[in-house]
Symmetry: C2
Subunit: 393 residues, 2 copies
């Protein structure tokens, strides 16, 4: 078992109607002026934004707002947010939305508390020394950004999608009302479920000795999301299913499922980041599209782990050897993805990737040969090319 740190300071306020507590939660932070950050018109149309404004008004909070965050949130809006917050002397950011809005808020928070270009952090040029405090009202179960230390931003110049992690950015509080996720379209719900599962699967596929407690939590979490994702395909307003998925989303990415491990593989996420940057696909769908290709490519490096996954998570009967069991598990996961209308290859998303694009994806993902990926099996630029090619469909 590896040494580890676990730090999840976010206060979770979970359940029906909790968004009406937002004003008091912000007030308890002792801030002077708040930026309310949000995305598309859906939080406006649903009336949620008005309810949040009323809650802030009732608590006597001074605030401004900035909408327009899109999936795969853009660096240009982050710059705009930083300028606005500096001008208005904002000292707290309230993100109302899903992972994209929270990630955008974190990036603005970094920009407000560190000199120089905020993209430097995402470009791995230097480390942030602080972040403005952030609170969240979550409307999409997926990214886990409401408790995580990570944020992913896309730079339009070159369509580079890059993540940056630091504990400074862990939100102070997360308001999580599963009711707010009931109106999400089926595709977005399914994509979110895959994202949640993958945050634990990335950690689960590692090169560490097993920690039974962590493995048990992880296996149960993935099974629970699968079960409830299936329910939500036919019962989108099932409160308990929405709640299980929402809470799983936070636990899957707050660090709990990596305790005692080397942190996990994360190749699929990096491979998907380039896909998302190039084609703007839904993150979870992109993950589903590349995972099977990745898993088949690397499983020989740790077949016993893939076999454990197959039995304990996917419930398959063991084959005559670990490799056989592992393969059955991968196929079972792809069957699950299909069952919730998720892709199992890139073509399933309606994208025909050209040979040139395969090379461009591998070049970008390897930072033009400058980095390898993964811990289950270390992937070079050519390995990445092959995984993209096998995932093309």
């Amino acid at each position: 078992m590896e040494n580890f740190q676990y730090y999840t300071p976010t206060k979770v306020v979970f359940g029906k109607g909790t968004e009406d507590l937002t004003g008091e939660l912000v007030k308890a932070q002792g801030c002077r002026k708040v930026l309310v950050h949000y995305g598309s018109g859906s939080v406006v149309r649903s009336g949620l934004l008005d309810r949040i404004f009323r809650s802030l008004d009732a608590a006597g909070i001074d605030y401004i707002s900035l909408g327009g965050v899109v999936p795969n949130p853009r660096l240009s809006l982050v710059y705009e947010g930083i300028d606005l917050c500096k001008k208005e002397k904002v000292d707290f950011i309230l993100a109302v939305g899903g992972g994209s809005v929270i990630d955008s808020a974190k990036a603005i928070g970094y920009g407000m508390t560190n000199d120089g270009d905020v993209w430097d952090f995402y470009d791995r040029k230097r480390q942030a020394q602080a972040c403005l405090p952030i609170g969240t009202v979550l409307t999409i179960s997926a990214a886990g950004s409401e408790m995580s230390n990570s944020s992913v931003i896309t730079k339009e110049d070159g369509w580079l999608k890059r993540g940056y992690s630091s504990d400074y950015s862990r939100p102070k509080f997360a308001v999580m009302d599963p009711v707010l996720t009931m109106t999400l379209p089926k595709y977005q719900t399914a994509s979110g479920c895959v994202d949640i599962m993958m945050h634990t699967m990335e950690r689960y596929f590692n090169q560490s000795d097993n920690m039974e407690l962590t493995d048990g939590i992880s296996e149960n979490l993935i099974r629970t999301v699968m079960k409830n994702a299936r329910i939500l395909m036919t019962e989108p307003e099932n409160y308990n299913a929405r709640a299980e998925v929402m809470w799983a989303g936070s636990l899957s990415h707050n660090g709990l499922t990596e305790c005692g491990t080397d942190g996990g593989d994360w190749s699929s996420h990096q491979l998907e980041h380039e896909l998302g940057g190039m084609f703007d696909v839904a993150h979870g769908a992109g993950l589903a599209a590349v995972w099977g290709s990745w898993a088949r490519y690397v499983m020989d490096a740790r077949p016993e782990r893939f076999a454990q996954f197959a039995v304990n998570v996917m419930g398959v009967d063991p084959a005559k050897d670990d490799a056989g069991t592992a393969l059955k598990g991968i196929e079972a996961m792809e069957d699950f993805y299909r069952s919730i209308d998720m892709p199992v290859c890139i073509r399933d998303m309606g994208i025909e990737v050209t040979e040139d694009q395969l090379n461009e994806l591998a070049d970008k993902c390897s930072h033009f040969g400058g980095r390898t990926l993964g811990v289950v099996k270390k992937l070079t630029r050519d390995d990445m090319y092959q995984i993209y090619k096998n995932a093309r469909g």
Copy 2:
């Protein structure tokens, strides 16, 4: 599923050699003067206290120390600690030890930041408004106080053992090196494992709709502790087993296993508190001694929950009805307790309880008829008497 809050701000630093990071962790808290609080001579004899002092010296931390905490920590030492800390202008408490030391530190912390008698909080007369920041170096896996919001103190006048909970007391950091627990005697190790299991079992036996995620975490946690407790009876220096138990101790009492529930029953803890106050028994052993009696007394109020426990945790084959399955599960748990030399009745601890003492226990536990216990089944003073009587052995 119930609405819930989850708040675990404690930074966990887990693994071999992490105690040498203590000085830096204290320094990061920005405090001026530290009280190092500890218990018996074991942390002195093992050299741990010296290592902690060296770590504090290396970080340039000014500190004083106060030892002498005993199991079922006493109010008189808490008062002494408060006086000392006021005189020395202490602004941070470092607890080096197990739950008793941490609980004593929390009580001193309350006394330092609130006017009046600190016992008022434990006596439910008023609520604390603050607590001095606390850090911990854990040496015993049991109480979970290193991440929890609770503290239990015994008032010598009347031997009243009372708990008090508030988020103010959640430690800022917890240093957890499983190696430090390897020298614990077998009885204390087993008692600690029961305490850990019971923190989740108290929450598991509730009157809420199941939350699959929480149930799965809870069932896995209890199974993991049972498996590793058995290993530790013959391999006390098995690092992985010590680590599984240690991490389970924190997760079992930091709130994770109650998310989405009504918070759980907690009758067994209250029943044991009076036993511990009267006879000074090891907390975990006391819990094992009363649990079977409690479980048989209340199982009819929610047989399906006890049946789920029997199958998913104890691995028993279902009987012809839930009540039968439930009873098999209770018996299996008692068999487990016996397998690690834990008591299943009070007599097993070498204590002969008189009829007068049974009445005194029930009187104290019910606050002389002034309160009921439990949510699985609400227990009156006479119910408590009967459970104590059935637990007498």
